[in-house]
């Protein structure tokens, strides 16, 4: 008998003890090298996550190297130092116009860097990710991204932040819809209004329930990110992503994680991280009858890791 809707599952196979070993060696080496080891540590950690994430029983792979990340790291530090240097240099003049100019240089610079960071982060990260030997890729256009960021950024400013929901979703629609895996392509179709209303509801209910609804808000957010994602293949077939997480599930996960971290004075962090990854990945299902065996390698090798590091330094968590 044939299954009506075949499902494919994601799973995280990592273990707390193993991740702990990776993290502690990273920590030790980063400390001993006064922080210089950081890019290599990041690669080790990413590799652990990728290698232990399986879709349909096949593991993912991260191809990035510490060297690439280190070069990006140095450039990122240099760029930020330049911006902050200009800012503080102008502030030192102790004149009103210089301070204003300093702020403009700093925030204008950061704002102009943002699309560049997103673009570069996706390009680097996707080109360095593979599954079943086929590389992912990001084929978005940088100028188009600038156009979206400038238009939506201004609208967000004018509407005092309200348009931020539309900004987030437009950005996500564009970026995720230009991610590909070999000859197949992802698509994300979110709507700014839905996202705004969901957050509005989440915000007020969380306020009224003294934070308890926060876990259900989290669930809604998770579903919003997952359920609008699909994966399209050249033969016209597709896989639809579906979230199965529940508010109660998030509640149990987070409470136990907080206790786990507090009562072990932070040592339990690795175990908490593994539990989170397991929960999240176990609750993403891919529904559809697309054939994953007929995807061809299409992406070229890509070099450069500047944006990855910049994104990291500025704490822009754009990844699921």
């Amino acid at each position: 008998m044939e299954l009506l809707t075949p499902q494919r599952r994601l799973a995280f196979k990592g273990q707390g003890g193993d991740l702990f070993a990776v993290l502690i060696v990273n920590w030790l080496l980063t400390m001993v090298t006064l922080g210089l080891y950081y890019p290599w540590a990041k690669v080790r950690r990413l590799k652990y996550y990728y290698e232990h994430t399986e879709l349909d029983g096949h593991p993912f792979h991260f191809h990035g190297t510490g060297r690439e990340m280190f070069i990006g790291f140095i450039k990122a530090v240099g760029l930020l130092a330049l911006l902050y240097g200009a800012f503080f240099g102008l502030a030192m003049l102790q004149e009103a116009w210089a301070s204003v100019l300093g702020f403009l240089v700093l925030f204008g610079g950061l704002l102009l860097l943002l699309p560049l960071i997103i673009h570069g982060t996706y390009r680097y990260r996707m080109s360095r990710s593979s599954w079943r030997g086929i590389h992912f890729g990001y084929r978005g256009d940088r100028n188009e991204l600038y156009r979206i960021c400038l238009r939506d950024g201004l609208l967000t400013l004018v509407t005092l932040g309200i348009y931020g929901s539309w900004f987030t979703i437009n950005l996500r629609n564009y970026v995720m819809s230009h991610v590909r895996w070999g000859s197949s392509q992802f698509a994300y179709k979110g709507d700014g209004l839905d996202f705004f209303l969901m957050n509005l509801k989440g915000y007020f209910l969380t306020l009224f329930t003294l934070g308890i609804y926060g876990f259900w808000w989290q669930k809604d957010m998770f579903h919003y990110y997952v359920d609008h994602l699909s994966w399209n293949f050249t033969d016209g077939k597709r896989l639809q992503f579906k979230g199965t997480a529940t508010g109660g599930g998030f509640f149990g996960l987070m409470i136990t994680n907080v206790l786990l971290v507090i009562f072990t004075l932070g040592i339990g962090y690795a175990w908490a991280e593994v539990r989170t990854m397991r929960y999240i990945l176990a609750n993403i299902t891919l529904v559809g009858d697309a054939d994953l065996n007929n995807v061809a390698q299409t992406e070229q090798e890509h070099k450069g890791a500047l944006a990855e590091e910049l994104g990291d330094l500025m704490d822009i968590g754009i990844f699921l």
């Binding site: 060696v25 590799k47 593991p59 590389h135 070999g182 932070g266 065996n293």
Partner: protein, 370 residues
Amino acid sequence: MNDGVEAVLYDGVSSRPLEARVSVRAPNALVVEHGGERFTWPLEHAGMQWERTRDTLRITFGEFPRRVLIVRDPLFIRSFVLRMRYTGRQGVYDRMLGLARSGPVLFFLGVAVLLVASYVWLLPWAAEGVAMLMPRTVDRQLGEAAWGTMVHSLDEDTARSRTLQRFGEALQLSPDHPLTFHVVDDEQVNAFALPGGHIVVYTGILERMDRPEELAALLAHEGTHVQERHSTRMLMRQLASYVFLSLIIGDASAIAAVVAKHADNVRNLSYSRGLETDADRHGMERMHARGVDPQGMVDLLQLLQEEAVDMPAAMEFLSSHPLTAERVAEAERLAAELGIPAVTRPPLDGLFQALRAEEEEPVSEEVMAE
């Protein structure tokens, strides 16, 4: 196709997983069989890479797009890894990770012990070494900067400061730093030294003294702080501590940060207690060398101890200069050991009387000639 173990092969062209069998053949080559075809991947080849997790081995080979082989057979993984280790292709990182993985908690404890040891012994030693390498002009600049910020809020008695200056110079306390003495009109029973040479004595403490030896002891104590560069050393230790702790903690939890901060405070406190005892001891040795009876230090400490019981104003002095019975006992022991000085004391009585006088009165020529 009956030798070798099962593996999954991805050819880098299509996403289709291929069934394959893999075995290691001498000399140093991996043989991959798939659908009647046979590939040989030399183990020493530059395009040969491998990575393992707890239960999978990933071997990649060739140029982009690379061919990938996933093996899950535990026996094969073990023998392959052993072989690669034997050919010397395992780095320091893998060794360390292997160690950490075999006993994560034990490894963590080992690292923790190492860290604590370097924090307690290595770090202070290095920080003090750096402090002592810094030129003495640094002390002076630090002290002048601090003095500049506080000079306006202090009610200095310049006439008595001049007298105290003569008193201090007669003792020749600090050969490397010229000392500048200040008398400040204030009820507090307190005195302090800034790095580089400013020493401030409050009238509150002056008025409670009976003998010039006590004042000599106070100045010798504060002078030692200056001469031995205690402030600069303390500053360097704190700075090193701060950098070390922020390196360790990095982005770890806030709880760990709070614990570490308190650990640091406790340590600084015990270090500053050590510095006070140090200043007592070196101060007494200096007094003895100048012909001043070191018993003066004992008297001073006892006087301060009584003050601490009598009046809460002395609390401030207590918090920065903890006066324990131990410290007095230590001073008594050292006084007995040093004995009566062999050299004669410089003339101090006249200056001391002038300092003690309630009203400001110029020092007479007789006192100067004493």
